[in-house]
Symmetry: C2
Subunit: 498 residues, 2 copies
């Protein structure tokens, strides 16, 4: 390896180590930390975040990248991709002052704790001053960058390199009327019965069933684990240590099962990243939307499909004989795909899910623009919920406080959830071309060809290709809603006999 490239990898390796350690601290904060630990954890995150940022933006690294940029120009080589992606990360990070990073860590640590309390008590006023600070942080962050077409572009770009607010709005504008129409049609069709899903299921058995399913998917437990946390998430400490969290809600036991598949989808993407990319910026997933395409593919395209339940329903009935007594496969399949506007995004059905995302995108853009004041957020949230989904949250815990993201300073993020859905359907059409007996395989509980395809076409490349390029390479088209609309229409036509 040329000497300069070796130096680059040494510098990047150290930064990668520190970032992985930050992830360990955050995971522990969510999964284990006793309440007393909060203040010190904030200081630890601030100190380490500052050091990681200093190292990631050092003059030495910048100079080295400048030199390497002219040497490694072919983006199709790993070296070219490494230099390109690293230089882009560097140029972005170098614009953000270390003091800002430290301040951000302290504010978001406190905001997270406040959110947990506020959600527990369903009291937005506890979270409000913290969210105001988070919005100011986002605006200050934007101010470090050259003016974009829209201020929100700067935030979006951190999660979806190469995409603009206007691109997303165009995709959403094309999707929205079709999705609204579908919801309307379904509303007037004969409704699906799903009361048997909301009985009192044993937490332990549901948890174990989820583990059985994701084990069969191919989630590698020797390189991961599943723990309880207030919110399901996936985190990566290395290609060989990618963990997931989950929760159990008494009143929605099956959410635990689908969350397990969802987070395992994320984790398997990370577990499939090229080991040669470890400790460099090429490791991991290329964007949040592509990441979400993996989680939603396993959760929905696989986990809510008829072939999947043709395989797993007998085991499910054996696990819960009294709860599912007399319930037939088709009934169950329809029930888990029931379309009904609901309050909580993560548990929303596929037909209404994207409406939640569109709502949040508008709110975020409004907050960032300063058009919406944080104090008015619960009211705006509730009004938009009524407009888009025809329902109003009874309290803030089930409304504006439901998502963890803002408390962690994550803004610019939400649209990727809907983009992920679209990509998952684009991939699914392509996979079915390549694996012609996919349904039959799933019906037999076999997922290795599917996981193998995803590994070979997507996972192995890590961050080598930007999301739009990746989707183009694999499916022949850029991100668009057509496949998703086809998928939804076909699926719900059958379920609701439209």
């Amino acid at each position: 390896m040329p000497n300069k490239l070796k130096t680059l990898k040494t510098l990047l390796g150290e930064v990668a180590d520190l970032r992985q350690i930050l992830a360990v601290l955050e995971w522990d904060q969510n999964v284990n930390m006793p309440p007393g630990g909060s203040e010190a954890r904030g200081q630890q995150l601030a100190s380490l975040g500052r050091i990681a940022h200093e190292k990631a933006t050092s003059k030495k690294l910048g100079k080295l990248l400048d030199e390497l940029k002219s040497e490694f120009t072919d983006p199709d080589t790993d070296e070219g991709a490494l230099v390109r992606v690293t230089a882009r990360d560097y140029e972005k990070a170098a614009r953000v002052p270390p003091k800002f990073v430290a301040k951000q860590a302290i504010i978001t640590t406190k905001a997270f704790e406040a959110w947990v309390e506020a959600k527990g008590k369903s009291d937005f006023s506890i979270f409000r001053p913290h969210l105001e600070k988070v919005v100011k942080l986002a605006q200050e962050y934007i101010s470090f960058f050259p003016p974009a077409d829209h201020p929100y572009d700067t935030l979006l770009n951190d999660y979806e390199p190469g995409m603009k607010t206007a691109d997303v709005q165009a995709i959403f504008d094309a999707l929205r009327p079709k999705q609204v129409e579908l919801i309307k049609t379904i509303k007037s069709a004969k409704q699906v019965k799903d009361d048997f899903l909301y009985k009192k299921y044993s937490e332990e058995k549901v948890w174990k069933f989820g583990e059985t399913v994701i084990t069969q998917f191919g989630y590698d437990w020797s390189r991961g684990r599943q723990d309880k946390a207030p919110h399901p998430f996936q985190t990566t400490f290395s290609v060989n240590d990618t963990r997931i969290t989950n929760r159990f809600e008494e009143n929605n036991p099956f959410a635990t099962l689908f969350s397990a598949m969802h987070e395992a989808g994320h984790a398997m993407y990370e577990q499939g990243s090229n080991p040669a990319y470890e400790r460099t910026p090429l490791a991991g997933g290329t964007s949040l939307a592509v990441h979400e395409s993996q989680s939603r593919l396993w959760e929905n395209l696989v986990g809510r499909s008829l072939p999947f339940w043709e395989h797993f329903f007998p085991l499910l009935k054996k696990t819960f004989p009294s709860k599912l007594d007399g319930v037939k496969l088709k009934q169950f399949y329809k029930a888990i795909n029931k379309v009904e506007p609901t309050l909580i995004r993560v548990n929303a059905d596929e037909a209404t899910y994207n409406m939640h995302v569109m709502l949040r995108l508008e709110l975020e853009i409004g907050m960032v623009e300063g058009k919406f004041a944080v104090k008015d957020l619960p009211e705006i949230w509730n009004a938009k919920m009524e407009e888009y989904l025809g329902i109003v949250p009874p309290d803030d815990a089930k409304g504006v406080l439901q998502d963890v993201h803002w408390s962690s300073g994550l803004m610019g993020y939400f649209s990727t959830y809907a983009l992920g859905n679209m990509i998952s359907a684009q991939l699914w059409e392509k996979i079915n071309e390549d694996i012609t007996d996919l349904d039959e395989q799933i019906r037999s509980g076999k997922f290795d060809a599917l996981l193998g395809w995803l590994r070979e076409k997507i996972h192995i490349y890590g961050r080598k290709y930007d999301p739009q390029d990746m989707v183009q390479r694999v499916t022949g088209s850029r991100i668009n809603p057509d496949a998703y609309v086809r998928y939804l229409t076909k699926k719900y036509n059958a379920i609701y006999e439209l």
Copy 2:
């Protein structure tokens, strides 16, 4: 606060944060990490360890300490103690090259994993090459320091500031014959029946009973937690996040209970440290021996006393009615204090425990001197076990592989376990002078006066006073075996009717 002192605290705060983060990584490695995570964790520990070391030995910090040393000379003030302790830590750390620290992290991470495997398979050959590297590390470490009276002094000094190998040997030489004589006398007395301790107890109930006990002791769960790990230990991420681990051994269920008390004793010491010392080197316990005096005090002086069981035995009988059917309080008390040479140090009774420590001290000194080769260690271990305790381990898992310490690079450490026993007895005599109805309080399940005394006399001072000075201040004498011998003799005279 004068400006220089403020700068000092900022620099020290960052180092403290990084060291606490290292502790989080190590805790996670023991408690949660999937096997695949090992290699990356080693790199993370190495990178962060190197940075922490660089920061702790920066020229800026050295210069500042030099200036402050002449300004703050009174060791009885917090500022004077801070400068004194920090300067000593600094001078020691500055002798150790960053490359050595990084190498040490990588070697010990691998050694720990190898030890887990070797112990599981009871195969010393798996651990041997790693231990050889650990011994070389210890020798290399010693070489960074000026020659001491004995090379082992340098290692000991990291755990017991101010004590020399010769001091410890003198204390042990005074103790050994008395302890040997006691063991001999007990051996020829009427033996105690304890078969009811080794029935099949429910793991969950034993674990919960331990939690009940340490809650009553005063362990603050809002600032801690207890998890499973291969080896019980206590770790500190801040004064408000001090965690303990424990394990359950089918064939020795009560060990879990006494380990809980032991580790809670450590944790309560850390929880009682002056909050004003947070993020400075004054936070935490002053030495391992004083630390061990706290854990052993709660485990033995309290937890294996008759008054303690006068309070807790009814609850224990209620928890395990069938196991303890017909067992009387006195019988139970005698059983948990049964003297019998055993293979495992952590579960050893109070009369034989120190013999295990003396064995390890001799082995460590031998390895450091190069007198003992690592490959011969199992044989030497077994020979010494036979000499000191009259028993030979059937395999290496129960012999030379039983302790985690060497795998983590901890050498110079073991004698502090025996010194801790001695200090605990010295403190106990003093506490009984100050709290005249202590037995009565314990009999009523009240521990607040006891914990309050320990907090006020010891915990609150953190590392302000060195161990010998601390013991002298509190008890009027330096560390010596007299109180411990008095305690053991009185206790066992009663139990064995000698």
